[in-house]
Symmetry: C3
Subunit: 205 residues, 3 copies
């Protein structure tokens, strides 16, 4: 198992937890839970592979389909526990964001993309599944909420690209970038950071 | 005309009827009706072809574009009749689901996919167009409602894969699997079957 | 820079303006503005390139990613001005529609598609980004509103195909078709044209 596959599977598992938890919150049934888990988990990576014109790993490797099934089943049966963990969707989402941005940027560089498109594709990998998850569940996509979400992803992708330019890549770089994204995102949630809105539209809070 | 093309065209026509009927119910105009018919009809198959990295049939074969146009026009002009057929959206949707799951699973096996990914892709083919249709029309996607929707699709795909493993494929297998999906789905609607929700979230009904 | 690239970049810029303006109207933050600008600007063209199985230009050419960034930043800082220009979203959207339909139909013909699929793909190029923009912003997709939106696109695509059949293509044809789409669309908005709804569903106005 290569590192990129391991990162992908970890990202899939935590994103699937986020999708399944949201589905339980929205009182969906068992299949809705597994479906939303799969969409959240696989959406970003499949979009990336389609854009890179490589065969989506999810169609080649049964583990990519089993991971969301396991995560969905776990959340379904232990949902009272998961619910007590307040902010579980956000926590899993932040972990998935980090893992997918790092893995996605790495895969884009491997495919020969330049710096800017590689960061953009890494961010799409990280954000895509969550956007689909939120659209299907009928909630405002997390990336469009007034929270700091895109900045950690952009920084994480940039770190991977810059270090790659210096000849440094591999497990430590990718896991480090993933951890950086996760830490910044959770720090933003914890500190209630907000990105600015356009001038003269800012409301009294 | 090969069998897979015939099944595809039948599925396109009935899914287009479902999209057009929903559009009329939502009081969309003539072009909204044809647009929603086309999205419902072509969404799942195009997604499947893109994932399999084969040229989408809809771009090659004018019949794939004419079918939703005809279905949309029919529903547009005969909508009072269609409306009196209560549950028409569901009926056409169930027929399209069966035809697309069978055709999609068959096409995935032809492309050399393994058992689990082939069933998953067959289900995506069957579910994708309806999800897009419902998202665009602003209603909760049918697969996420508390109805038995995914189970018939999964069983239909599994039947195609198992019989293919025994060397049996062809018209009878695919039409039989499509009929099985349709029958189970309509039985679920008729009997008002519900899939379970997560423990301790079940509401008093 | 070829003409198709120039048309693409112009379409990207004006669609990005439409996405950014909508995001400011919905009080999204700075990153939401850039994200919605990028989705509106790149969604249609990327979908077209994926369907044609050619490498999406947005991954190859940094200008495709810089254009929505610039447009989003402009709208973000000058939004009070943009807001005063009533109907700015619609104006930019109509310009983007024209440019993308013309460029998309031309690219589809270049890729060897037949007349009907080329027009369909041109319309998808023109409509796709706006549909994604509206879905993410939680408003009814413009193509499904009771306005004349699809007809200009279809006519513009048809003009490109017919003239191509007569051996005429190139800058004048494409820019002329783009102008025709824009003019028809804005005329429809100005004259408050409505497409018909299905018989016996028409409401008293």
């Amino acid at each position: 198992m290569t590192l990129l596959v391991a990162l992908d599977l970890m990202g899939i598992f935590v994103f699937a937890l986020s999708g399944a938890t949201l589905a339980v919150q929205q009182r969906m049934d068992a299949f809705g839970v597994v479906f939303l888990a799969s969409v959240a988990a696989l959406g970003g990576g499949v979009a990336r592979d389609v854009l890179l014109d490589i065969a989506p790993a999810a169609l080649d490797d049964t583990r990519y389909l089993v991971a969301p099934l396991v995560a969905g089943t776990l959340v379904f049966f232990f949902s009272p526990l998961v619910e007590r963990l307040a902010g579980a969707v956000r926590l899993f989402d932040a972990a998935g964001l980090g893992l997918f941005v790092a893995a996605g940027t790495g895969k884009a560089l491997d495919a020969g993309l330049g710096a800017v498109p590689a960061v953009a594709l890494g961010c799409l990998t990280g954000i895509g599944g969550g956007v689909l998850r939120d659209l299907l569940a009928g909630v405002v996509p997390v990336v469009l909420r007034r929270e700091v979400y895109a900045v950690p992803a952009l920084l994480g992708g940039a770190v991977v690209v810059v270090l790659d330019g210096q000849g440094r890549s591999g497990p430590v770089v990718l896991l480090g970038a993933a951890g950086l994204v996760f830490a910044l995102r959770m720090l933003g949630v914890w500190q209630d950071w907000h990105a600015p809105v356009a001038p003269q539209r800012r409301r009294q809070v």
